[in-house]
């Protein structure tokens, strides 16, 4: 079977014939299809009058930031960005604090009701959000009285269940003797968690922050339902309302809409580019929506 090695190498490294150019061609075509709209988003937001013809791809006229001023005039960008930030920050904080506690308890501690709680965690994964939309709206707005409040907007995202899973998995990988040793030394359970367990699962913290950021930042439906006041709306909702209202009325609404899109997309895309190697299918499978 001495022939297998060269065959294998040829298969892996030196594609012959068509695939020599086919693979790069397919990939480049794909990359163009994904990136061109982003290029148009940026270039359109910087033009006085976005040109939709082919020659408009390379702007001939001067670039301007007038569209950013225009969208800021209709939608208070700083205020809505702040709102998006508070909601996203709240979800991350809630997930880090309550998620770590729950993940630790589920992985390390033995207490009454642990089995029930874990069964519920599994069940939550299969309950679709659309079933919850209406009753959760009724509860949040009517029963809990949280309309137009940050807490109301954060509520469904307060603890990311995928994050609880991630934490639990990481804590399970730590040797149990580690915890017994610390306990014998007289450390309280919170101290064991804070000083022994947490420093060892630091990579999990980054993964959780990344997977928790994108959902609430991009979310539209839920904050759209529970906010009436423009002052409380996150950018995604404010921009959507602007898009829905002007698309029909203004003759050329694209410039301002695209400027708003750039501002909304930039933080998530920036974070993704910075930490792109942490974004893997397994890390993010259930965490990203919307």
């Amino acid at each position: 079977m001495s022939a297998t090695t060269p065959v294998r190498e040829e298969l892996e490294r030196r594609p012959k014939g068509a695939s020599r150019w086919l693979v790069p061609a397919v990939l480049t075509l794909g990359a163009l299809a994904f990136l061109l709209p982003f290029y148009l988003m940026v270039i359109g937001s910087l033009q006085a009058e976005p040109d939709t013809s082919l020659s408009g791809l390379v702007p001939s006229g001067g670039l301007t930031t007038a569209n950013y001023a225009a969208i800021d005039g209709s939608v208070d960008l700083w205020r809505t960005l702040l709102n998006s930030g508070v909601i996203t920050g709240g979800a991350i904080l809630g997930t880090l604090v309550f998620g770590v506690l729950a993940g630790y308890a589920l992985a390390v501690l033995q207490f009454r009701g642990r089995g029930t709680l874990f069964a519920m965690v599994l069940l939550v994964q299969v309950i679709p959000f659309q079933l919850l939309t209406i009753p959760l709206y009724v509860l949040t707005v009517r029963t809990y009285g949280l309309a137009d409040s940050y807490l109301g907007m954060v509520l469904p995202f307060l603890v990311n269940t995928t994050a609880v899973f991630v934490f639990r998995q990481f804590f399970l990988q730590l040797p149990p003797d580690l915890f017994s040793a610390a306990r014998i030394d007289g450390a309280s359970e919170l101290r064991v968690l804070w000083s022994v367990a947490l420093p060892l699962v630091r990579p999990a913290l980054l993964t959780v922050v990344l997977l928790t950021f994108i959902g609430p930042w991009n979310e539209f439906l839920w904050p759209f339902l529970v906010t009436k006041e423009a002052d409380m709306q996150p950018l995604a909702v404010a921009l959507a309302n602007y898009t829905a209202n002007v698309a029909a009325t203004t003759s050329n609404p694209y410039g301002a809409v695209l400027a708003g899109s750039v501002v909304l997309a930039a933080p998530a895309v920036g974070l993704f580019l910075l930490f792109q190697r942490h974004f893997t299918a397994t890390n993010l499978s259930a965490g990203v929506k919307g």
Binding site: R8, S19, L27, F34, P128, E189, L239, A240, L258
Partner: protein
């Protein structure tokens, strides 16, 4: 999440503490405080898990029960603080939902969405994943490029796609005289396919990563054997790659079904609220219109339950088909 298994049998602690004094055959445990007898070996665990447990009950368990309850009662919004009766109406809300032509239209639209979105997603994601797997250089760049739309807000991307697909948009000016009349998003037979295409584009990067991971598990020996038997690239793709990633394909179909069932932002913004004339409404958009705009959360809840049952059946059917194949 079936891969996650508890490290120790979870029930042993939960069910035992009260009988720890001997009735289950174990000798009484010495040194157990009353607290430990009531809450297990680490009573503090209850405390640590409590906030999350309360969250699950308030945000998931109770709303699910409420949805089911509302769907069989006459439930309407009343002034805050006013107690009103919500009489039991049996399946009246369900009858209304199931006989509503707008609901039929919305489910038909989702069927159109799935018929276009699923094959498009599976085919393109698989081709791109195979190409990425064979790529000699620039892997990181391409991976990032494919994934960027997935991490970007739909609301932001809708802005660009309005710009692309509008009446005087980029696509139409490229097509020139071939541009469809009326244009994409206001054409009743093209609105839903446009949405299906948009969603496929936005989500593709995620599915490319799923397939890329699956391709690592396809044995190289199979390609070798196929190559020895004289199979060309195309033949290798259809006889080795496609069957090799079958479980991932099933997962893609399930996830696309769930996405389709959850569709809201795209018909709301891209086609201006499910237009033209309801040709692109989705069930969730209809739930919003019924439940919140028109103030009938009871029928909207019934619609939600019908939708979930449909999705559940589709997912089960998909599982069944997959199992009977193998």
């Amino acid at each position: 999440m079936s891969a996650v298994t508890p490290a120790r049998p979870a029930a042993t602690d939960g069910s035992r503490p009260k009988t720890a004094s001997g009735s289950d055959g174990h000798p009484p445990r010495k040194g157990l405080t009353g607290l430990q007898r009531a809450f297990g070996r680490h009573p503090i665990g209850t405390l640590l898990a409590l906030p999350y447990a309360v969250f699950l009950v308030a945000v998931f368990a109770y709303p699910v029960v409420l949805a089911a309850w509302m769907s069989v009662h006459d439930w309407f919004f009343s002034a805050p603080g006013v107690e009103v009766d919500h009489p039991y109406v049996g399946f009246e809300n369900y009858r209304q939902v199931l006989t509503d032509p707008a609901v039929h239209q919305a489910f038909l639209n989702i069927a159109v969405f799935l018929v276009i979105n699923v094959p498009l997603t599976v085919a393109l994601a698989l081709v791109l994943a195979v190409a990425l797997n064979r790529a000699a250089r620039g892997r990181t760049f391409f991976r990032v490029a494919f994934y960027v739309p997935y991490v970007t807000a739909s609301v932001a991307l809708v802005g660009v796609w309005l710009f692309l697909l509008g009446g005087d948009g980029v696509v139409n000016s490229l097509l020139g005289p071939l541009a469809p009349q009326p244009s994409w998003l206001v054409n009743s037979s093209l609105a839903m396919p446009s949405i299906a295409g948009f969603v496929a584009w936005k989500q593709l990067g995620f599915f490319v990563l799923l397939y890329l991971a699956a391709l690592q598990n396809v044995s190289k020996d199979l390609y070798e054997a196929a190559s020895m038997d004289g199979a060309g690239r195309v033949r290798q793709f259809s006889t080795v790659t496609v069957p090799g990633v079958r479980t991932t394909t099933a997962l893609v179909v399930v996830l696309a079904t769930i996405t389709g069932a959850n569709l809201f932002t795209e018909p709301y913004l891209l086609t201006g609220g499910g237009g033209p004339d309801g040709a692109s409404t989705s069930p969730v958009l209809l739930m919003y219109q019924l439940g919140i705009e028109q103030g009938n959360p009871d029928t909207a809840s019934a619609l939600g339950i019908v939708l979930v049952v449909c999705v559940g059946l589709l997912v089960l059917l998909n599982r069944r088909l997959l199992r009977s194949e193998s």
